[in-house]
């Protein structure tokens, strides 16, 4: 695999301004520039071309994972990340790179008019290089999108499992749906923070809406209860259905003295009693 010919490199350097212009036009044609500020786009385009030329000058071939291409890889990663955040799709982001082919081929054709064999070889080299860079961009774009989705899921999680204040000093955390390790962690952290913020001594974790409790889930719950106790508050687990109670006994899980109640109302009654609060009916 031969690297790009020195002639190609010279042609790129001396025609940089035109290349940038042609490339931007090519990008607009693919619709890759929608929602982007022209100033930013021009800057990204110029910077990429400079990095590309610098990388080629150092004799780097089409293996974009080589250390010589570190700078351009970092640039592309930053680019995909920002495009992912601004809501572009992978097609638009990849078009940033692939639309460079057109102007490059045009440049090469003009430069190697008299030498068809050289032209063919250089076209191939350029194509390979641009493809590799484009693939890298797509890959990092995907990763960024996944990270965005994950963060959104976490935020959704926090919103869908609100910590509720039932009384002065009593918080409740109704858990709904399956408890996985990631979810439980996020939710428990917000419960602990609310305990500190409100100075609530009792937290009721209601698992009525949790279909199954296995060893892992029980472990998470126990970890949370332990953390709550270390902080100086206490915990009641409510919504323990008969099936769950059976599972707990079956699995031989040690609840370490955590009080459990069949429903939230009973848990609240206990909490109020512990706080020395009586509720009476006025006749």
């Amino acid at each position: 695999m031969a690297a790009l010919h020195i002639g190609t490199l010279d042609a790129m350097k001396s025609n940089q301004t035109q290349l940038v212009g042609d490339w931007m036009t090519s990008q607009e044609a693919t619709g890759a520039t929608r929602n982007l500020k022209e100033h930013d786009l021009k800057q990204q385009t110029s910077e990429f071309l400079q990095l590309l030329i610098a990388g080629l000058e150092n004799g780097n071939g089409p293996n974009v994972n080589a250390p010589g291409w570190d700078d351009i890889r970092q640039f592309l990663e930053k680019l995909s990340h920002s495009r992912a955040l601004s809501g572009q799709d992978s097609h638009q982001t990849a078009s940033f790179i692939f639309s460079l082919k057109g102007p490059m081929f045009g440049l090469l054709q003009r430069h190697y008019e008299a030498n068809p064999a050289m032209l063919a070889e250089q076209l191939w080299e350029v194509s390979e290089l641009v493809d590799a860079l484009g693939m890298h961009t797509i890959r990092t774009f995907q990763k960024s999108r996944e990270a965005v989705i994950k963060r959104q899921q976490e935020e959704l999680l926090e919103l869908s499992t609100p910590v509720v204040k039932l009384w002065d000093g009593v918080l409740a955390l109704p858990m709904i749906g399956t408890l996985d390790s990631q979810r439980t962690q996020v939710v428990m952290e917000s419960l602990l923070q609310r305990i500190v913020d409100t100075g609530s001594e009792i937290a009721i974790i209601d698992i009525t809406g949790v279909p199954t409790v296995d060893t892992l889930v029980a472990q998470h719950l126990l970890k949370t209860v332990t953390a709550i106790r270390l902080m100086g508050a206490d915990c009641i687990i409510s919504g323990v259905r008969p099936q769950i109670a059976q599972t707990i006994v079956h699995l031989g899980l040690d609840l370490q003295g955590v009080v459990t109640k069949a429903n939230l109302a009973d848990a609240l009654k206990l909490a109020l009693t512990r706080l020395g609060i009586t509720v009476s009916k006025s006749v």
Binding site: D70, Q74, E77, R139
Partner: protein
């Protein structure tokens, strides 16, 4: 994966353990780690730095901030030329619960991080590398 920055500091005296914690906190903050992950990391650093000083007879802590695609990582290596750990299983025991103080509590530290590598042999010193990603 790209090493954004790196450095090293000695761990020989007690105050160095405190300094190691402070460096770890600063680096983790720089990485943009969430508070709970940062706290776990700094705590692990405290445990391992202390081990390096007490059992390793002093050593060094190397750090690296890593860039991989869209995530940032903090990697720390604790190395010493001490006696090495002869019984790795014992070393992974939670020393404080057994009360004998012989276990190095490495399993606990291991639970606080995402990647944990232990490289040791009697007479060959010890190298422990921990990593957390954002």
């Amino acid at each position: 994966m790209n090493v954004r920055s790196s450095g090293t500091q000695a761990i020989n005296i007690e105050q160095d353990v405190v300094l190691a914690r402070q460096t770890a906190r600063k680096l983790a903050t720089e990485c943009g780690m969430r508070l709970i992950d940062l706290t776990k990391m700094v705590t692990a650093v405290s445990e391992l730095a202390r081990n390096t000083m007490v059992y390793g007879g002093g050593g060094d802590m190397d750090w690296q901030i890593l860039d991989e695609n869209s995530r940032v990582g903090l990697r720390l290596t604790f190395r010493d030329d001490g006696p090495g750990i002869p019984d790795i299983k014992l070393a992974m025991t939670d020393g404080w619960t057994s009360g004998s103080g012989l276990g190095l509590g490495l399993t606990g530290a291991k639970r606080l991080v995402e990647e944990f590598e232990l490289d040791t042999a009697p007479g060959k010193g010890t190298r422990i590398t921990i990593t957390r990603w954002t």
